[in-house]
């Protein structure tokens, strides 16, 4: 489903600030996998997601999604393959526009956009039905500006938008980190539900070790731009935080990871 081969990315090459963010990463994600990604600050987690979604090209290596080589496709042309949610709830929605307008834009992910009506009547019912799943009452606020929503509501809406048009791959970049614990749990619950119902292949970066262990069927750890370990299946489901710390505590300088 997703194959990363020998990915290398160096930032600020040739300056004193040179930083090797990705140092020959190989990763293979199967269809239907839910991969959680941990690693301390600067391990290359976000760089990996940026490379997959095409924010910038790799210096070396190849990226395949669904068997297609997308290494040199610009970001907007990869949209048909993947949905992405950022840490900042403000980044996933256009705040000056209405809820239904945001959904309508997400509805057309990766398709060409013409001069027909943006929010179609027939689709509006569908949006209403889909919003009911969030259980936030948003189904009655289709014409409200997104700027009126709270961070948690916006992130839930973003999640819905990312999955509305059934992407092949869902990328979650610490998407609950900026929310308060209760809202974060709600959004995470919703994520599980949507991923399970649609059998989406998912890669979730998180700073929260508990979250990484609790969710998904594969857990990987990045360290200095390389894959440090991956645990799947039975071994993954019986994993505990203590075990991970015992085995890899040395690399886990980041204390936030341990809470």
């Amino acid at each position: 489903m997703v194959r990363l081969e020998g990915l290398r990315k160096v930032f600020k090459k040739g300056t004193i600030d040179e930083k090797t963010a990705m140092d020959g990463l190989n990763l293979h994600v199967e269809e239907g996998d839910f991969v959680t990604v941990i690693g301390s600050n600067g391990a290359g987690k976000t760089t990996m997601l940026n490379l997959i979604s095409g924010t910038f090209p790799p210096d070396e290596g190849e990226i395949y999604i669904n068997g297609d080589n997308v290494t040199h496709l610009p970001e907007h042309r990869r949209a048909g393959y993947l949905g992405r949610i950022f840490q900042d709830p403000l980044m996933g929605t256009a705040s000056s526009m209405t809820i239904e307008e945001n959904l309508a834009m997400a509805d057309l992910r990766g398709q060409s956009r013409g001069l027909t009506w943006g929010v179609k009547k027939a689709r509006r019912e569908h949006y209403r039905e889909t919003l009911k799943m969030l259980d936030l009452g948003l189904e009655n606020r289709l014409k409200d500006s997104v700027s009126l929503l709270s961070g948690g509501q916006r992130q839930s809406l973003t999640l819905l938008m990312a999955t509305l048009s059934m992407p092949k791959l869902l990328l979650l970049d610490e998407h609950t980190a900026a929310l308060d614990p209760k809202t974060a749990d709600l959004v995470m619950e919703l994520t599980e539900k949507i991923v399970a119902e649609n059998r989406l292949t998912t890669i979730m970066v998180t700073h929260n070790m508990n979250q990484a262990i609790k969710h998904g069927n594969v857990m990987i750890m990045l360290h200095e731009g390389k894959l440090k370990f991956d645990i799947q299946g039975q071994a993954k489901s019986s994993l505990t935080v203590e075990e991970v710390v015992k085995r890899f505590g040395g690399e886990l300088k980041d204390e936030a990871l341990l809470c």
Binding site: H76, S96, M97, A104, M105, L108, L115
Partner: protein
């Protein structure tokens, strides 16, 4: 005497305000929708006038020469967009470069710095020859044009492409991950905006009876003043009907601006001080909230 003088400013500012409303509408698309501070306007306004004036004096059909002006404005806007998106030149500088280039271009198009159109038939001549006060058909015509383009803009900004353009100004990262080439959206938006501005230039030249290479100087500040006045009168908000409010604010603001200026002139403001007064008006509108409310009080207007 004084009263009748003021009464006369009403039809004048209505006609002029509506004729210049397309400039304000164009600025809404760049500054407010795309959040792109486009200064091409100072060049594309006289471009529209120059193209139309030159073609009409060459006996080209007036309607055709208006269409040529619109196309010219569209291309000028696209050039600014390409400078910014393809060559990665700063948005303000892209506009300044195009504005400067257009100054020479406009002189070339006209062959001299001024073309008079009083003795030739323009698109507006049939209206001026009607057997009634000149103001009536003129105000009617400019009202229809301004309103038609307001409606067209509203409709466009609610199409699939229009939503993508609004999102480009609102959250570029987000709409790019949804598969929209935001560079193309910026180029298209700047093209449409400057097409409106050039159309305004073309019509203004025909109604005032001449095209002049200097008629665009300060146009961006006039347009900004108009939309700021309009927005404070109409009230802007986000979400539902946000677009309709922006476009109606452009129309209202443009007329009210011309009215304020006309009254100012009546009360003894020297015509040469107009741009100074307009500039101060914009500075006050943008700056007063900051002075009153400290750092937080600063007006957060898109593109400004």
């Amino acid at each position: 005497m004084l009263f009748s003088g003021f009464m006369l400013t009403v039809p004048i500012s209505l006609e002029q305000g509506l004729a210049y409303a397309l400039v304000a509408l164009g600025i809404v698309i760049t500054f407010r929708v795309l959040a792109f501070p486009d200064l091409t306007v100072d060049g594309s306004f006289p471009l529209g006038a120059a193209v139309t004036a030159r073609l009409i004096t060459m006996n080209v059909d007036p309607l055709l020469s208006i269409l040529a002006a619109v196309l010219g404005g569209f291309l000028a806007g696209c050039c600014t967009g390409l400078l910014n998106t393809r060559l990665r030149i700063n948005s303000l500088l892209s506009g300044i470069l195009m504005m400067t280039i257009l100054y020479s271009l406009n002189l070339r198009i006209m062959g001299r710095s001024n073309i008079q159109l009083l003795t030739v038939d323009t698109f507006l001549t049939p209206l001026e020859n009607l057997d009634m006060n000149r103001f009536i058909p003129m105000i009617g015509f400019f009202f229809l044009v301004a309103f038609a383009f307001k409606i067209l803009t509203d409709l466009f900004l609610h199409t699939q492409k229009g939503l993508a353009m609004r999102a480009t100004g609102d959250n570029e990262q987000m709409i790019r991950t949804l598969g929209v080439n935001t560079d193309n959206m910026t180029v298209l938006g700047l093209g449409i905006s400057n097409a409106f501005v050039a159309l305004s230039g073309s019509l203004v030249a025909q109604s005032q009876g001449f095209a002049d290479v200097g008629m665009g100087i300060g146009m961006i500040v006039i347009g900004l003043a108009s939309i700021i006045i309009g927005e404070s009168l109409v009230g802007v908000r986000t979400g539902k009907k946000s677009v309709m409010r922006l476009t109606i604010a452009a129309l209202v603001g443009s007329v009210v601006y011309k009215f304020i200026i006309a009254v100012g002139l009546r009360m003894g403001l020297a015509p040469t001080d107009l741009k100074l007064a307009t500039g101060i008006m914009v500075i006050l509108a943008l700056g007063l909230p900051a002075l009153k409310g400290g750092r937080e009080g600063k007006l957060h207007l898109r593109g400004v």
